[in-house]
Symmetry: C2
């Protein structure tokens, strides 16, 4: 329990302590912070501007400057898992009712005044938490891969031969990753003119007619790996910093026309939204769960065999669409619907020697459950636009996203008091 | 003509003035420079440490600090085409026999001593010239696309329906782009066990057995574009900074197993080498040429229709493999073998609203001519390993690259005195 008024089932309870980058009207410089309930602890002020540094009772933390002169979390992330654990644990202590250091914040009105922001009283703007060198998107949500494969190739041929043997993935576009709240313009792009089907294909330039979301988790890398060497699957956890919820916006009609033979390109690179607060790996430990079972008897190659059988996380995830009529939940699933873990993704990503860098972002791929109430994309829910998806009891329906729709992805476990909060994006009309 | 002893048919003649990042034993800090013949002009020293600044006769250039405190060319690149033209033109004047400013360098022994490095006397180490935010690789070499398509699908089905209508491309891995001279470890990765063909596919982890190069040009972006808006094809030239030769190392056996359905991933992300000196767009103007003719009567969509019909460059390119027996040229072609220009790539890349950033790298895709002496990859030359490729008269043959092979890509036009120099990489054995 915290001495701050934070319910224990809040996503940002004292069990979480997620890190982010904030700015405020009174201090527009982006700077690191942690979230605690409806409050934000400004780590720049906490570190430097109180009469006694907030970290004075943590002498083992020798680099508090990562919170004072940095506009991203990259430098903090690069200090390694032991330091993340140390700092998060200390902040949990400082914020706990039975804190051993009441003089730091609990009984220090001046420090509270300078470092604590009540988000209900002062506007806090969130920024991209990390400088992202490379963004990779995997395809490890097997139910999604099956649903999509069945849609286009039939149930018998839904899965490709490589799928069970490696985490299929592709390089995404780092420059278009944006923080939750950023509005997303409907892309216009090259799509096949349906009238030309059958004869020679003739494309047209048009606003995307099949704009979709993709519900994913994504992990930030917190340690560089060397070019030409591979990270072992059981040491890969040391390379992880934290996790966010991600919306990999997708233009299905553009994708269908462009993706052969080199994969998705302009259909995915117009925007990818992530939730603002990075939940550190340690905070997710109580949520560990087993991944999906493989469908083949051929064993995984040893470089992908992980010692910990609870290699993914069982975190409730929801998708809602907000329209003028209200907020309508259209999907509910769990992040355990994955065939491969982040550690396996890292082991595979580096198997040929690709260097990882602190700040790299790895998406899981779309997460879908097995039933129609738990799908991670409209492509699946509407069977590629052939069926209507009801928005609750509103009478509204969707096949794909419409202008003005606000897509709200959310994830977290109230019982544990750990969650990501929301990843929100409003669809703007296409450019003229 | 330069007052320095530089032959007019040198790739780095006074007609070129390419920019790069150097360090030297006496000053190990990476810093900007230009190449002039076998000499290097250290721009940090030229700007700051001579008694009179080297740019004192160019008052219009208001930001010489881009050469003194920067370890990449990004800030210089971001100043825009007009400034690139101004600075390059001024340096050409300073280095010309009939320079209007002899006091700056030609008749200034002290300045020469401080700024000019003779690369035959002092070792100059080259660094990656730009901080690369995102790297995109296109597939605009139509002869290559046809050769590869014919190899795997037959000549009748070689080309995919979208190929003539848009520059096919995919996101590459920025973290594995390295500068010429960097040695490249043969990747090990997941490949299909040939013994398992026909029954259920069983992969193995093995050193790549089909390591290949890809001969490409690549352009650096020199201007940011806004998310959600597109760059017009006729204004795209303003977004270009300069061009290098690129070797997009490729692991063909890993690629064949992994690439369905999302494109190349670990088979391409272990290394991509670029030549060290960035040739500015203005230096390439005399080499403009027409691209390949499209094979369809369906017109290009207007957003890809370029006013300048000479939209690509006719630059001789060669591929050599250096072994203990000597350096063997195995291919000679021209960079005009492209269906799409850099401007068209930019227009398409941004059509859905993807933001470009200064420092982004755009590869053309493998450049092959139409005859067997002008192919840009061993995949094509050896017909996927089914035929032997002779290394000159040495008696040595290759199907794919062997450990110890040094791949040397080179490009330039001696008549114009403009070239890229070499892009070199030695193949190291796979990790154990
Ligand atoms: Ca995705
Ligand atoms: Ca390539
Ligand atoms: Mg995306
Ligand atoms: Mg490559
Ligand atoms: Ni990237």
């Amino acid at each position: 329990m915290s001495w701050l008024p934070v319910p224990s089932d809040h996503y940002f309870s004292v069990n979480n302590i997620p890190f982010g980058i904030i700015s405020t009207p009174s201090n527009p410089t982006p700077r690191p912070a942690v979230a605690i309930g409806e409050y934000v602890l400004d780590l720049q002020s906490f570190t430097s501007t109180t009469s006694v540094s907030g970290f004075s009772q943590l002498p083992e933390f020798t680099k508090p400057e990562v919170f004072t002169f940095e506009k991203t979390l990259n430098r903090f992330a690069s200090l390694g898992r032991a330091t993340h654990r140390l700092v998060r644990g200390y902040l949990q202590q400082v914020l706990s009712s039975d804190t051993p250091y009441p003089e730091i914040l609990k009984d220090n009105a001046e420090a509270q005044e300078k470092c604590l922001i009540n988000t209900n009283e002062e506007e806090v703007r969130m920024h991209l938490p990390m400088d992202i060198g490379d963004y990779t998107d995997f395809y490890a949500g097997r139910n999604h891969a099956f649903n999509v494969g069945a849609l286009f190739r039939g149930r018998e041929n839904a899965m490709q031969p490589n799928y069970e043997h490696l985490p299929v993935g592709y390089h995404g576009r780092a420059s278009s990753v944006v923080v939750s709240g950023t509005r997303v313009r409907r892309p216009r792009g090259q799509v096949m003119n349906p009238a030309s089907a059958g004869s020679e294909k003739v494309p047209v330039l048009a606003p995307c007619g099949k704009l979709d979301f993709e519900l994913e988790l994504a992990a930030f890398i917190g340690k560089d790996s060397d070019m030409g060497s591979s990270v072992g699957v059981d040491e890969a956890g040391e390379y992880l910093f934290g996790v966010v919820v991600m919306n990999d916006w997708s233009a299905r009609d553009i994708q269908a026309w462009e993706y052969i033979p080199l994969g998705p390109f302009t259909s995915k690179s117009f925007a990818t939204s992530i939730s603002s607060w990075v939940v550190l790996m340690d905070a997710l430990e109580p949520l560990r769960a087993r991944p999906l079972e493989r469908g083949t008897k051929v064993p995984l190659l040893p470089y992908l065999q992980e010692s910990n059988s609870e290699s993914v996380y069982d975190i409730p995830l929801t998708v809602s669409i907000k329209t003028p009529s209200g907020t309508h939940k259209i999907s509910q699933t769990s992040s355990s619907n994955l065939l491969f873990s982040f550690s396996q993704m890292i082991a595979h990503h580096t198997v040929t020697g690709c260097p990882l860098r602190t700040g790299d972002l790895l998406g899981t791929g779309t997460i879908s459950g097995t039933d129609t109430q738990g799908m991670g994309s409209l492509l699946e829910m509407s069977a590629n636009g052939t069926q209507k998806v009801a928005l609750g009891e509103s009478g509204e329906v969707r096949r794909f996203l419409e202008d003005g729709d606000v897509v709200v992805l959310a994830g977290g476990c109230r019982k544990v008091g750990v969650g990501f909060g929301e990843c929100v994006g409003e669809v703007l009309p296409a450019q003229k």
